[in-house]
Symmetry: C2
Subunit: 496 residues, 2 copies
């Protein structure tokens, strides 16, 4: 009765003390509920708090006796696939996960075609709506599955490449692909879910990972956060072989990055293959040492329907190590024997005969597929070499090589090294991260200091623009051999 501190001040004082902070923001709609809520709980309350840069925001005020699951939603906004993870913010446990194909695929398979589609009348709005609606449906389904109303989601963290986050926010992506490649925004920060059209709690905030210009997206920054390489003393390399080839090299003191879109050879190539991974698709290939027959593994163990990127890398390694292709990746007819067929003037190698396949025809790869893979692996290696040369370190100094992306999980390091796509490091230094973009987004939800950590990562990265100059082309030409023109770089590869 002696204390006539205003309700909001009383609450903010208590929260500042509890959270050891100087500022707590209270939005109008919560102010409207505050007086009754405080008194209903005899001036005790449970508060849901969200961390912003330098302050905390009250997201909800609840009955002190109510047991509520305050959930967070991590989203990896992939060009092809969108992945969601629902977290209990209190216990930091995963409540559930789901994924769906990016509905914008209807407008085009890649970033370039989406940006063109966005330029059509009403195009940007349609692409934005398609994503927001699909997300809302997926959120609703995931919440049903977890027996949690979507209004219990108070925070979301969204990581995607620059174009995906622009389309998600309804921002003009037109200038991302036009010289000098300008995004609308680099640090979108924390937005209201309602402004974005997401059906979460009315107070929910959505953190969108920052990007560095057009080519280095928030998904990669999320990947760095997830890997923790920016906190290590020793040198690490992060390679994301997803829709693009993106690479980060560094340690706790410095980070240098570049993206493969600058190397034209990578367009299509690995990308297209990676997208093919699905049940029944061959993801691993080895050779039976006795019969010299291919031993194929399919996703889900189903009869094979095709071959995806990791399978192709394995296959190329097997073909090379068994002497069926030469150092240029060309079929050696004498070694391939009856597996080789010519169709429309192009040589094809039968990997699985029609009778073993699920599609009633031979599963084969063509010389063109191999040529494409070799250009891709050469571009990847050239990027790694250029990056390490730029900062004056040797690739062999790398203590941990993180392979990010869902596709990355499938890659066999032995095969990747055998064809010279990855440096010949002790295999124990290879580490796969899975969907590191989703993992990073989840980490941003869990860790109250994450926003500052993400800012620090972003600000510390030096982005290397790859100039496709003579030096790059010389490196690229040298890398177009298996495993490399300079064989001494790949001592572990038993070259036939």
């Amino acid at each position: 009765m002696a204390d006539n501190t205003a309700d909001a001040d009383r609450l903010v004082q208590a929260l500042c003390l509890a959270l050891d902070t100087k500022r707590v923001a209270v939005d109008l709609h919560l102010l409207r509920r505050l007086p009754a809520q405080l008194r209903n709980g005899s001036f005790r309350a449970r508060c849901v708090m969200g961390r912003e840069r330098g302050f905390w925001r009250l997201l909800d005020i609840l009955d002190p006796n109510l047991s509520l699951t305050a959930a967070g939603l991590a989203v990896d906004l992939g060009t092809s696939r969108v992945a969601l993870r629902l977290l209990d913010l209190n216990s930091n446990t995963v409540l559930g996960e789901s994924a769906f194909n990016n509905p914008q695929i209807e407008s085009g398979p890649d970033v370039l075609s989406r940006i063109h589609a966005a330029a059509l009348p009403g195009g940007l709005k349609a692409l934005n709506q398609a994503m927001v609606s699909a997300l809302n449906r997926a959120i609703s389904a995931l919440c049903d599955q977890c027996d949690l109303p979507p209004k219990n989601i108070y925070l979301a963290a969204v990581a995607g490449n620059t174009t995906m986050t622009h389309l998600f926010m309804g921002l003009e992506p037109r200038w991302i692909i036009r010289e000098p490649y300008i995004p609308a925004v680099n640090k979108p920060g924390s937005l209201r879910a309602t402004d974005l059209g997401l059906s979460l709690n009315a107070a929910a905030r959505v953190f969108i990972f920052p990007n560095i210009g057009s080519y280095f997206g928030g998904d990669l920054i999320a990947g760095i956060l997830y890997s923790g390489l920016h906190r290590r003393q020793e040198l690490s390399l992060l390679v994301d072989v997803g829709t693009n080839a993106e690479v980060v090299l560094g340690n706790r003191h410095w980070l240098i990055a570049c993206a493969g879109a600058a190397g034209p050879a990578l367009e299509g190539g690995v990308t297209r293959m990676g997208m093919m991974a699905a049940p029944g698709v061959i993801d691993r290939v080895s050779m039976d040492p006795d019969s010299a027959a291919f031993d194929v593994h399919t996703i889900g163990g189903l009869p094979p329907t095709g071959i995806c990127g990791s399978g192709l890398i394995d296959l190329a390694a097997v073909l090379f190590l068994s002497g069926m292709i030469d150092i240029r990746g060309k079929f050696i007819p004498g070694a391939c024997k009856n597996l080789l067929k010519e169709k429309k003037g192009l040589q094809h190698l039968v990997v699985v005969a029609a009778e073993q396949s699920a599609v009633d025809r031979d599963l084969e790869i063509s010389q063109a597929d191999l040529d494409s893979l070799i250009r891709s692996k050469a571009a990847m290696y050239t990027i790694l070499e250029t990056l390490s040369t730029t900062v004056g370190v040797s690739l062999s100094d790398i203590k941990t090589l993180y392979v990010a992306g869902t596709f990355g999980v499938l890659i066999d390091p032995d095969s990747a090294v055998a064809i010279g796509m990855m440096p010949d490091l002790p295999r124990s230094r290879f580490r796969t991260l899975g969907n590191s973009s989703l993992g990073g987004a989840a980490r941003a939800l869990k860790n109250p200091g994450a926003l500052e950590e993400i800012d620090a990562i972003r600000d510390r990265i030096t982005y290397l623009e790859l100039n496709v100059n003579q030096e790059f082309m010389n490196r690229f030409s040298a890398a177009k051999f298996l495993p490399h023109t300079d064989r001494s770089r790949f001592p572990s590869v038993a070259i036939p």
Copy 2:
């Protein structure tokens, strides 16, 4: 072509430089328009900026060649009357003004009855809606009058007492009038116009003046800002005689304030009279020295319909100085002669005879009216005395006495001193401010540093809770005489 800075970063950098600030916030809906707008203007743009605490917010981005009036709206949210002033933010000129009766009057004439009405089912929402709708109508009409679309209003500043701002924001006012008198919020700060339901520009922000607890409202803080007394070296007193009697004493170093609601004698009294001011109402009364007849002045010069507070103060002074009432404010029948009539056991004095009035009946004041006025003036003086005694200064040390409020403009200092309502200072020290709440709101729009200045005023004020203890009651009893028991305090009053 060499610079691939993101559009938002480029704009923010330029704005930080131009505004000498470290932070500029850009909301999502403006990000959505930014890329096209920048390019349409060849990377030149006109920006409408709003000042927040410690940073600036982009409110609009326009064609550099477009001549747009960016307007600001000042609002005085009075319990009885709401006043609006539209300003050109660029030239700081007034575009127009209007006022309307607070539609919440339907639910009750004063703060108390409104709070009770808000407690009924749906009551708060109805009161809130009534105000927001009326404001939107008034804004629309004022904009029409000024030939300006409401979407050109980017900023609003709203000053009102604690209850009025709570109702305007839709906040529970219930606890404002219940011990220990707790408002929901003291510093509402800057809110989105859309969240408040105001039809201004989609990006518009509404600053709501802070209050100090339940009794010292944002209208008074706006009044201090407007008077500038918080910047002066010399001692000033600000008296607001509106729906309440509120007082601030101080200088650039300290401010002490109290509000008359703590003195029960002021309820009704001056308040009720002040509300009566309207065309035809007597606002000034003097006495013809020759005929000893009353000389009345009405608002608008119309035939008289009644008498308002300032007229009553004048009348009381005239009656006292001419010996028609005694030092207790009681009619002296011998001096009043045939002007005095008894009705229902109560003495009435005819001020205007029926034939001169607009209402076909005598305009008169009763002994009860005078008694009520004397209680009010005694309470006012007691508050001033208590306040100055508390800080150890004499009322005669006051270098400027600001009389705030539209009612205050009408008060004749000579009369106010004659009845002992105001201290007997040289008349040159009296200064009327008019609607200082509206003036302060307008100043908040004009001055980029106003938010910090307002915070500083609020934080510097010591609020004095008036305890109606024996000392207060002794002072009050002494002040219930004309002009005061201690005549030496009013040397300029020629007591009969």
